[in-house]
């Protein structure tokens, strides 16, 4: 992109308003009044002054990068291939409305009529133009304006109306490569998260999976194995003791049966012989036992 101010004038105008509001350009833009309020609160914070200076530095950077961006997109000359054209009303109308409020909303937060502040505190706002004349506020106005102009000026100095080709190095890269390199790598924040939070997340997910498969699942497998072992033991008892004992009894019964079967020959003469021997034996026993 580049030089779009000519092809898209309304977009440029609304964007410029929004950009100046974001930077906190003095007096006319809402961002100035809200930023002013925050800076004022930070300045009066008794615990530490660090946040105030950080905020000021942040405000400089905001103005700087917004100026860089506007220079690349709207100033300079067109670098693309196609022809740019203004957006239809469905987009420009909301943009205009938003741009209007980007300026007008500041009215409810000025020291002269701090309606929003009063609304948050639940009291009625008073209108008093003399608030603008307080020295403390004028100091803050000066600081705040200085900060914005410093950022915008730096941005213009580096990038204004240059429209470099995409393959050309950035203006900051040329003049301050030591600063450009860490900024280009986003101060290594992503890398820091990559080796800490994300690495921990992935590692812990693997731990959870491992616990599931090995520990909890392992306990289940171990229980199943113990049951199998117990079943084997029962089988052993069954086969060797219960079945074995049963088989042995059966065997003895059948061998005993065989013995008896050899006596049960079915020959009447044999039976009579055994009977005769038995009667003689009984007679002898009776005779013997009945002796006085």
């Amino acid at each position: 992109m580049g030089g779009l101010r000519a092809d898209m004038p309304l977009t440029f105008a609304t964007y410029a308003i929004a950009m100046l509001a974001l930077c906190g350009f003095p007096i006319f833009f809402s961002g100035f009044w809200s930023k002013d309020g925050i800076l004022e609160a930070a300045q009066h914070w008794s615990v530490a002054k660090g946040p105030f200076y950080l905020l000021v530095f942040g405000a400089v950077l905001t103005a700087f990068y917004m100026m860089r961006q506007v220079s690349y997109v709207f100033l300079g000359y067109w670098r693309g291939r196609k022809v740019a054209h203004e957006s239809p009303a469905v987009m420009t109308l909301p943009m205009t409305v938003l741009a209007f409020f980007a300026m007008a909303l500041g009215l409810i937060g000025t020291p002269a009529w701090p309606w929003f502040h009063a609304f948050l505190e639940g009291r009625a706002a008073t209108f008093d133009l003399r608030s603008f004349a307080q020295p403390a506020w004028l100091m803050l106005l000066a600081t705040s304006s200085l900060v914005v102009f410093l950022g915008l000026g730096l941005g213009w100095w580096f990038y204004g109306n240059k429209s470099p080709q995409p393959e050309e190095p950035d203006a900051l890269e040329i003049s301050a490569p030591w600063l450009w390199a860490p900024l280009h790598d986003r101060l290594y924040v992503d890398e820091f998260y990559g080796v800490t939070v994300i690495a921990f997340f992935a590692w812990w997910a693997r731990v959870a999976d491992w616990l599931d498969r090995r520990v909890w699942g392992g306990i289940v497998v171990a229980v199943a194995w113990l049951f199998g072992l117990w079943a084997q033991f029962n089988r052993f008892l069954d086969v060797n003791w219960v079945d074995g004992g049963f088989d042995k009894t059966c065997e003895e019964l059948s061998s005993g049966g065989g013995l008896l079967a050899s006596v049960q020959t079915g020959r009447v003469q044999n039976y009579l012989r055994i009977l005769a021997v038995a009667v003689v034996a009984l007679a002898i026993i009776l005779f013997w036992s009945s002796r006085p």
Binding site: V207, D209, W216
Partner: protein
């Protein structure tokens, strides 16, 4: 007990309906799906009728009570309150979704749809029974069709998955059965309502101790074990990823949408009313397990590469919130603020059961559609950029995934918010650690969206077919329901809140 039926026996009708449908489906061959669709649609209508006929005070209504085998304490005792009725509606919706998702069953379709309907009957029976014997019958009955549905129509490792699922759940059931036999020996009753009243008055613990000694905590552990496996509670969950992954996706929808709720329902209908004091005494270790379920479930999901396993673990995580709410509220509370927290948590738990059922079933439905289009692929790295060739599929599945993630405006947000709103004042350490689960779930689901739908489209998926008309029509009511509950949760909460108040008034911790 004397027989008592208030009005038409609508709950019996509801349980018999899918059994009749199953009998017809078994013999109707390739028309079985039509029979199953009609039956499950009729069941949904009846379940919604039940939902509209609940007593306004949140007590148990539509009671059917007949002596069955009085000498051993068995009655035919049915009844529902807001909790039971919501589960009936959920089971009916999930079964209808499952039958709709299972449109390419070529292998023994009659048996497949018959088993699905028998499973539905098992769900209906266990959500309406108020006598242990009767309830246990349906609790076990639902296992058998689920086992065969995994075993006969599942993936490559279906055999071991089905066996593990069956044995695991049976082991829990045996513990449950033993506990209730002991309770019956001591009290002579198997009726949940009677036992809950005895527990609330302290008589139950006295009778059990007089008969069997100080075994009440062990009985509570036995009952908890049965439900802990079913929900599941870490570390009793290892059957779940295998069963969910190996089951055909329509069956996974039933497992996660319906059967996992049987465990949570059992905790609310049986464990807390009868063993409230014992559970309150074990609250801290139970909360530790619930937090582990929430956090480790989410993290284990982050390590999975199979979409079905991702959402199996995600189910563990989401039901973990239910367990967190249940164990957190099991504590004696004093003062209106603490009671309000208890009520918020219980409302959240019951609504979460419904929301998770709908959302998880819908996710597995989408996985079924993706598998159908790719010949069974479901690896998280098998896809990419599907939003270009299939924008409607991407958009609708995106809504369902964001519902699972808990995006405000969709259903799960309401229930998870209520659970955390209730749990935080009651057990802030557990609640604080569990918030990690929300974060990790968000990462898991965004990773799935990124890997499946964003990025460059691989050449072979350039013509990935988008949803066709009938799929859109089938999905629309489910997705509409997610928005309706997300934007107007009072449609359900207004009916379950009286039940919540009624339950909490009768529980004793």
């Amino acid at each position: 007990m004397n027989g008592l039926t208030t009005g038409f026996p609508i709950l019996t009708l509801l349980t018999v309906l899918p059994l009749v449908g199953a009998a017809i489906a078994l013999f109707s061959g390739k028309h079985a799906r039509g029979v199953a669709l009609l039956t499950s649609l009729a069941c949904l209508v009846v379940a919604l009728m039940v939902w509209t006929r609940l007593p306004a005070d949140g007590s148990i209504g539509l009671v059917e009570l007949h002596p069955w085998a009085p000498s051993i304490g068995i009655d035919y005792h049915l009844g529902v309150d807001g909790l039971g009725a919501l589960m009936l509606v959920l089971s009916a919706i999930v079964t209808l979704m499952s039958v709709d998702a299972a449109h390419r069953v070529h292998h023994m379709p009659g048996l497949f749809y018959g088993l699905v309907l028998i499973l539905e009957a098992g769900l209906f029976g266990s959500f309406t029974a108020l006598n242990f014997f009767h309830w246990f019958l349906f609790w076990e009955l639902s296992l058998i069709p689920a086992f065969f549905l995994i075993k006969l129509w599942g993936g490559p490792r279906r055999g071991s998955a089905a066996t593990q699922f069956f044995i695991y759940t049976m082991a829990g059931s045996v513990a449950l059965l033993l506990s209730f036999l002991a309770i019956f020996l001591a009290t002579g009753s198997m009726d949940f309502v009677q036992l809950a009243a005895m527990a609330a008055s302290g008589a139950l613990s006295q009778m059990v101790t007089a008969h069997l000694g100080a075994v009440m905590p062990w009985l509570a552990i036995g009952v908890l074990a049965g439900f802990a496996v079913k929900v599941p509670l870490v570390p009793f969950h290892t059957w779940l990823p295998a069963a969910y992954a190996e089951a055909p996706s329509p069956v996974t929808m039933l497992l996660t949408g319906g059967m996992s709720k049987m465990g949570v329902y059992g905790l609310l209908r049986i464990a807390l009313p009868i063993f409230g004091v014992q559970i309150a005494a074990m609250r801290t270790p139970l909360l530790v397990l619930a937090v582990l379920t929430v956090v480790m479930g989410a993290w284990a999901a982050a390590a999975q590469k199979d979409l079905k396993r991702v959402f199996a673990y995600s189910s563990v995580n989401h039901l973990g919130y239910c367990l967190l709410g249940i164990f957190a509220l099991a504590v004696p509370v004093y003062g209106a603020a603490a009671q309000a927290s208890q009520a918020a948590a219980l409302n959240g738990v019951i609504l979460q059961m419904f929301n998770h059922g709908i959302t998880a079933a819908a996710i597995f439905w989408f996985i079924a559609m993706i598998q159908f289009r790719t010949g069974g692929l479901r690896g998280i790295d098998d896809f990419g950029g599907l939003r270009n060739p299939a924008p409607v599929l991407t958009g609708l599945m995106g809504i369902v995934l964001f519902s699972s993630l808990g995006l405000p405006g969709l259903n799960s947000f309401v229930s998870e918010f209520l659970i955390f709103r209730g749990v935080f004042p009651l057990a802030w350490v557990a609640a604080t650690i569990s918030v990690l689960g929300l974060l990790v779930t968000a990462i898991v689901i965004l990773t799935v969206i990124q890997k499946v739908f964003s990025g460059p489209v691989p050449e072979h998926w350039a013509n990935f077919p988008d949803l066709h008309h009938s799929e859109k029509v089938a999905l629309a009511p489910v997705i509409a329901l997610m928005f309706i509950i997300g934007l107007a949760p009072r449609l359900i909460l207004d009916t379950i809140n009286p039940t919540v108040v009624n339950l909490l008034a009768h529980w004793r911790f």
